[in-house]
Amino acid sequence: MSHLTPLFNDEFIDLPLKRALGQVVKRRETGSKVVGAYCSYAPVELVWAMGGVPAILCAFSNAPIGKAEETLPTNLCPLIKSSFGFIELKTCPFFELTDAVVGETTCDGKKKMFELIGKHRPMYVMDLPQCPTNKGAVAYWRQSVAGFKEFLESEFHMTITESAIEKSIQESNRKNSLVEEIFAFGAHDPSIITWQEMYDVATFAVVSNGSETIAKLQEIIALLTDRREKGQYVSKENAKRVLITGCPIGGDVLKVLKLVDEEGATVVGLDNCTGLKPFLGRIDEGSDDPLMAIAKRYLQIPCACMTPNTGRFDQLKKQVSLLKPDLVIDLVLQACHTFNVEAVKVESCVRNDLGVNYLKVVTDFSTQDLGQLKTRIGAALEMS
């Protein structure tokens, strides 16, 4: 790696969250309102349209979980406990910068946690219909999208115009297609992009927008194209290839990806909400009802909280066909029932329909299972 030009050649090399924080601080200093979000379902186009900036709130460290467990049950999703603990301890710099927070009813633990943190910031909780193909689901979700727009307008005493929304839709589409193009470099064998770089790109792109972002993403594509042309690889030849699917990942749960590296394999794709998932799909441009266009696109996000969640399987098939992994690791956070149960169908799809080896890992942010995980990941790679 040392001979390669880093994709982000700045003072935040290997510190993607600090880079994102820098971006948010920069926007805030120019008067932008900061809207905290926890999830890919937050329609950030509305935040951009009001001249604001979204901030993805801290949720992936084991450190604040002890504090959270003073209030929340131990056998809860670590992501929820971590989010709550960060706020209680006031150690999430993103949250401290926010002027408002948006949440969605993706799961029971989260929606009740939002009630507990609502006292700290103005908060809008969007009710997410979980049978997305049922009649009326999109129309109902559009009401939540409209409600979020009204919340922002009333909270910040401004009007979000249709033309501003349309502009941010177009920018999002452009940005998302570039991020998708970057992730597609994962298909190269041997690898020319690391999972850390994919994670850096996703972390950067989710809180940035506009021409500077487009230029940066284009620069990254040029760097990756250059690596491809020069044969500059980041993995060994014949390294086993791993696609990560499942729950959102970051911070301490990246332990699983680090173990894949330790075993000499290469992660070629991140098919989850802190990877490619939020950048898939496009919002209809030039529609009569941009809020409906936004609602339609967001309801297509293939999260396990949805039923049926056919989009996840369609996407997995595309990713496996493009990236040609030897192993799919389905990373489930402890007590995330929807991803944990959906794993039954994912395993069947991956093993039987796609003929690829599969490993489900249920874990949290602690280091307690490192030994077992190393053995299980090592053995799954030996099989592949």
Binding site: V362, T363, Q368, D369, G371, Q372, T375, R376, G378, A379, A380, E382, M383
Partner: protein
Amino acid sequence: MEVIDLIKRFNLTINIKYFTILPLRKSQAPLRTQEVHIRRAGIDIGSRSIELTIMDGETCEVTERFQAETSIDLASQLRNIQDSYRWDVLVSTGYGRHLSQNILGGETVTEIRAYATSAHHFYSEIELVIDLGGQDTKALLLDPCAGQLLKFEMNDKCSAGTGKFFEMMAATMGLSLDELVAAARRGEKLFEINSTCTVFAESEVISLLTTGASVEDIARAIHESLLSKLVSLLSKVMKADAPSVLFVGGGAKNSTLVALLAEAVCKKIIVPEYPEFFGAYGAALLAKNTL
């Protein structure tokens, strides 16, 4: 019960050995020459014990077996082994495989691959393998044609339902492991211990003792509790028409558990002569392929 009695009991039972410790000795075999087959070794460094085996490079006949408790100073222990045994090629497996590789050299494999390899080598028809180790329990499904590992399941993080569970339960009851196993054989299935978590199960056992339940019946319930964990793990990889299960790891020496498992899964349970050596055997067999 007085606290002092508990301490005495604990002290009496804390050194329970689940295995026979064979003496560490210098290999008798001559140095490698043109006429002598090369010697390949496999070492399995588990949470509770270390097994080393040395095989004839051509015939795969086991020429040496060494076993010891895993010590706190594993590095010194490995150097000691290095000074006492000779081999031409070695593969390490088990939790300590990476430290072992640093000290002894050679390659590493996971114990899952090691078990799959040795199971197929010694029992070529076998499809299902269960390993009950010190802190892990694993169930494997093999393709008997090629010996390929098709699927495996293993406990996620805690050592519930592993050999450690028996050790702790025996200690709680003031019994040796052999006594616990023997008592369970005489016991009846009158009640359940619902937890395989060692800490929770201990409090269940203490509650049962205070209600006057017999030691035999409690010992049986302890076995049934672990059995349910084994059956659950096995059922995740289970192939209904597989006629038998190969039971390896130190836990396979528990004859009561073996009998209960056979009854529970309606399959023949095969326990090899040295079940705890199957990780080391597998490593040694894989050492062959690295020559």
